[in-house]
Symmetry: C2
Subunit: 425 residues, 2 copies
């Protein structure tokens, strides 16, 4: 843990510096697999699945009997929890539906926008030891509300050629159309180009390791949209004397257990608060199953004592945290003035884990400071807006002079003609 | 011009194929200039400006006296036109302001989103023979409404070291904070890394040639957001017997004059409509100042006769045009069912050029089929949404079971602890 007392502003950037990731090293690998999948389709996909996942598959598509089996193996209690979380996620994302407002900018010139779902999307769900089925809910539930017609989900199989039961259960519950046993760079390549058995998609969502992240970046070169660039998960907590040090410690640890590269930041005006939290961390860490991971993440954690709330605010906005927890007596100042953050948790009873699973907000959020320019995944991530203009003859007459003068000044005579020829008629 | 009568569906993709662009060839050049700007800052910027724009500049920043001089050289009539267009663009983009709706997903768990402006943005405006000042309005006016704090504009200088008067006038009118005489890859690199004289930005907007487009793509690797990927401009017109062939010809030509790679598509159920339009194109083309450019673009144009409105709709959605003009008696069918398009123009008196300049809709739109997944630039392009959750002790108790079960099933014990420790208190 790194403690900084009242650091000078010129040092803030280096104190808050995240470990840089390099796509460059991975791009050659990504390009090679992309080319292979583009050329050889399913044969290439099966080859890489054998190579990287250690399993030879007849079919990449999950069958109905596999769904049925998965459903029978998830406990009723967990099913109820997943259904409850889904309901909350749906409520919150339904509240984001945007209407269409028609306005007349000039008499006879009506303009409006309408929302349309992105028709074909691909969701990537990582495999590995812990099945991240919560991400299925976070991506598939809003996609369904948005009206996406073809939702395909990709997740790497284990050595037995299976995807975790919970992932399959959640996918089916959310109405995912097709689930493929396919992960890594080859999954992103399949979504980008399509193969004999897999339809290409227009937008790719979901987290992944550094290979998946690099592959998503390369996919954008081929005209596929992605949800956002990805980096390690992170939390910034603001605590004061009214915070409960044990709660704060638990929140920092729940971030730290994600991975050795997780980022943990604690800001306070009170050095004693930080000392108390550190002591609670030690106690709680000792009994965690993932304590080695959490310990490594904590080695890079940053604890800063600052003089004023305004300085804390400034540091929040400079860092642009994925998750911001405001465990202070007066969170309103920060709520009103925060500019850069993914999702904000207010009060002593708002741990990040509630938002990770079930409050209703989305947990696919901008990391690595991307919150300066990106929103987390939300309903609009699954849609686009089309603009419309309906213009009457009178409307065109009212706006003609403006258009013709500007077109002429830009040297675009045919643009002017398109108006002039209608006026003459 | 390429005419297709009732083509079979299996041939549609190849008929509508756009010329593919390759970023690969340009990436080496982009990477080299990026590295140089990252290392050498302003010195590198001035070197490339001398090399590519043929002018040695003392300062890249446009001075107050240059703004004053520019303003004095724009005619009063054009100023009025620019002001009128700005007013319409502002009206339409103000109508896109999103409110904040707080909902309780579970009793005691409140969730909502709030909009925040992206603080620092960079606008790229191409130079060249025609000064595209309309793009200044399309980007800077919405940015100002969104509340962006630092709006920097970049445009390459001419051989006299100047930026077009109209661009400077429009920039000042819209409240752009700083204008830099800097173009090409080096401008995108400066926005990405910042230099001694230029602050880095969080998001880059605006059109450009293939070098600028490739540079924007590379900028995303360094964590900078971009408005959208870019390609040549395009229009798809649907015409029937009630269309005026001269109007349709004028619209197709106004697209064709943009550049030799512009895409022009005309769909109709009537072969005679297409014949009449082609005849009008010949007449109108002959007197166009940019007829060589338009002629080359027309060589690649696609005219298709189809049997049914449903087939026309399907072809529109497959092509996903940047601009869609519905010059038909019954446009409603297409308006209601179009899924993929940038901006739609309805009726015989709605030429694309009105939307290019002054109707109020944005002219920065998705090309190359990106309309399948991307919106055109709109107010939300300049903002992001932050989600918030405020949870009471009772609220946490209500949702605790769901969160703890899911955390445990994902193998994240510290996530569960963060809830459990609060329940125990």
């Amino acid at each position: 843990m790194n403690l900084y007392l009242y650091p000078e502003k010129k040092d803030w950037e280096s104190i808050l510096k995240r470990p840089t990731q390099s796509l460059e090293d991975l791009e050659a690998t990504v390009n090679q697999i992309f080319l292979d999948v583009q050329r050889n389709g399913d044969i290439a996909l099966k080859k890489y699945t054998s190579m990287f996942d250690g399993v030879n598959l007849e079919s990449l598509l999950v069958s109905q009997s596999e769904f049925d089996e998965a459903e029978s193996r998830v406990s009723e209690a967990l099913k109820k929890a997943i259904q409850a979380a889904k309901k909350n996620i749906e409520s919150f994302h339904k509240s984001q539906v945007q209407g269409s407002k028609k306005i007349e900018t000039v008499s006879g010139v009506s303009c409006w926008s309408e929302t349309r779902a992105i028709e074909r999307i691909g969701l990537y769900i990582p495999g590995g030891t812990a099945p991240l089925f919560s991400t299925v809910l976070m991506l598939a539930a809003p996609a369904k509300i948005a009206g996406c017609k073809q939702i395909s989900l990709f997740s790497p199989p284990n050595k037995q050629g299976k995807i975790a039961n919970e992932i399959l259960y959640a996918a089916k519950l959310c109405g995912v159309d097709k689930v493929y046993k396919l992960g890594g760079i080859q999954a992103i390549a399949a979504m980008t180009f399509g193969t004999e058995s897999i339809e290409k998609v227009y937008k790719i969502f979901g987290p992944g390791n550094q290979f998946v992240t690099a592959a998503k970046q390369v996919a954008t070169k081929y005209g596929v949209a992605i949800d956002m660039p990805a980096g390690p998960s992170e939390v910034l907590v603001v605590a004061d004397a009214t915070s409960n040090p044990a709660f704060v410690a638990a929140d920092l640890l729940s971030q730290a257990e994600h991975g050795v590269d997780s980022q943990v930041v604690l800001l306070s005006k009170e050095e004693t608060v930080i000392e108390k939290v550190q002591s609670k961390i030690e106690t709680q860490l000792a009994v965690l199953p993932r304590k080695e991971i959490a310990q490594q993440a904590l080695n890079n954690s940053v604890f800063v004592v600052l003089k004023e709330d305004t300085a804390i605010l400034e540091m929040i906005n400079l860092y642009a945290p994925e998750h911001l927890i405001l465990a202070t007596e007066t969170p309103d100042f920060f709520v009103q003035n925060v500019q850069n953050a993914g999702s904000v948790f207010i009060g002593n009873y708002a741990p990040e884990s509630v938002g990770d699973y079930a409050s209703g907000t989305n947990h696919t959020l901008p990391t690595s400071g991307f919150a300066r320019a990106f929103s987390g995944v939300n309903l609009s991530s699954f849609t686009k807006r089309i603009t419309f203009q309906e213009i009457s003859k009178q409307g065109l007459e009212n706006i003609a002079e403006t258009v013709m003068l500007m077109a002429e000044a830009e040297g675009l005579q045919a643009h002017k003609n398109a108006v002039a020829i209608r006026l003459k008629s």
